[in-house]
Symmetry: C2
Subunit: 198 residues, 2 copies
DNA sequence: ACCTGGACTGACTGACCAGTCAATCAGTAT
DNA sequence: ATACTGATTGACTGGTCAGTCAGTCCAGGT
């Protein structure tokens, strides 16, 4: 369990699971599909993980903790509010850019299952909202943002828009160009901060 | 199949399915749960529906068609753009208000899971975006909305925000007050049209 | 009275699959 | 060499569940 070689096998299984979950879905795939994809015996999966669900949990928590750290990091900076939001939007968009399969699994499989699975996930998801909400709240205090809109609500709008964009990409199945990634980051911030009014 | 009594039984099964899907999830529940909830023999479910999935499809299509009609109706009116968006937001929020279980099923099991199912659903979902997009586009043409933001993108933001709000309610499991329903409608429009800038 | 066809029943089947476990293998310490 | 430890294997088990089907019930027609 603790030798480098063993940890590497664990990773191989996790990476294979990402590919399998992304292409077949968590409920539809078999554990043997993961083992096959990883080039590993069926039983070895259970040597490293107590259950199929734990594999999904692990993938989600691993990635989400990185995101929470990125949000916390952004909160600490002295950037203007708009730039803070841009940094977070960038991080999430780039996460998709770097590993679309993993983001697909997290968005499609965890969000959907969040009501059935343990409350841990809902809490984690909430923590992201709260971080964004605090950024908006502070911007309202220093006068950068108007106070008519509830900060928590704004955080929902911001995160909801990003998730919607990723969902769109996921379901379209089309590759996204480098320019489009960058353009969307700008559009997200412009939409949330500037609104539609002419 | 065509007598009034028979159609009513079909409805009883559909309504029971909404409750069961909402509380247990589509993948987790058994067909026997639906039959029990409907107070009907197991086999009768298969008399009216060829498969478990068809029941979910039926529920989704029934409701989504009503929503598409509502969007089309709004498009035709002479209301100012802001009011058109408000009408659509109202319709969706009120759909949740009237039958939260059904909206939960549609959002959690279909909208957010559209990749695993047939392409029909993706098309239907897109049609909603397109309708909203056309409203934004026209508002940009007559100068009510600025043209810096892509209309399709704005439609995504608008729909994404609404879905996010409903998702929040769904996962919280808490009842929502009449005031809150109304307040949210205003906040949605204010957020999308006015933005956060002070 | 009998016939017909749709509504309705629920026991049963066949397939599927998560998770187990007894056995084998490979590295390393003694 | 020997013994120990953890990695690795894959056949097997037990349970679950979607969908089937052989048959009953009933209403309305003849």
């Amino acid at each position: 369990m603790s030798t480098p070689a063993a940890l590497e096998k664990r990773r191989v299984i996790l990476d294979a699971a990402v590919r399998v979950f992304a292409s077949q879905g968590f409920h539809t795939c078999r554990v043997s599909d993961i083992a096959d994809e990883a080039g590993v015996a069926y039983g070895l999966v259970y040597h490293y993980f107590p259950s199929k669900e734990t594999i999904l949990d692990t993938l989600f928590l691993e990635r989400w903790d990185v995101m929470l750290a990125a949000i916390a990091e952004t909160e600490k900076t002295e950037l203007p509010p708009r730039e803070k939001l841009r940094a977070i939007a960038s991080f999430i968009v780039d996460s998709y850019r770097h590993d679309p399969d993993l983001m697909k699994v997290i968005i499609v499989e965890v969000t959907r299952a969040a009501n059935t699975f343990g409350r841990t996930h809902v809490d984690k998801i909430m923590q992201a909202y709260e971080g964004i909400g605090r950024i908006v709240e502070q911007a309202q205090k220093d006068g950068s943002f108007r106070t008519e809109i509830d900060a928590t609500f704004a955080a929902q709008a911001f995160y909801g828009l990003i998730e919607q964009v990723l969902t769109q990409w996921i379901f379209s199945g089309l590759p996204v160009s480098a320019e489009e990634f960058e353009h969307v980051k700008t559009e997200i911030v412009e939409m949330i901060c500037g609104g539609l009014d002419g």
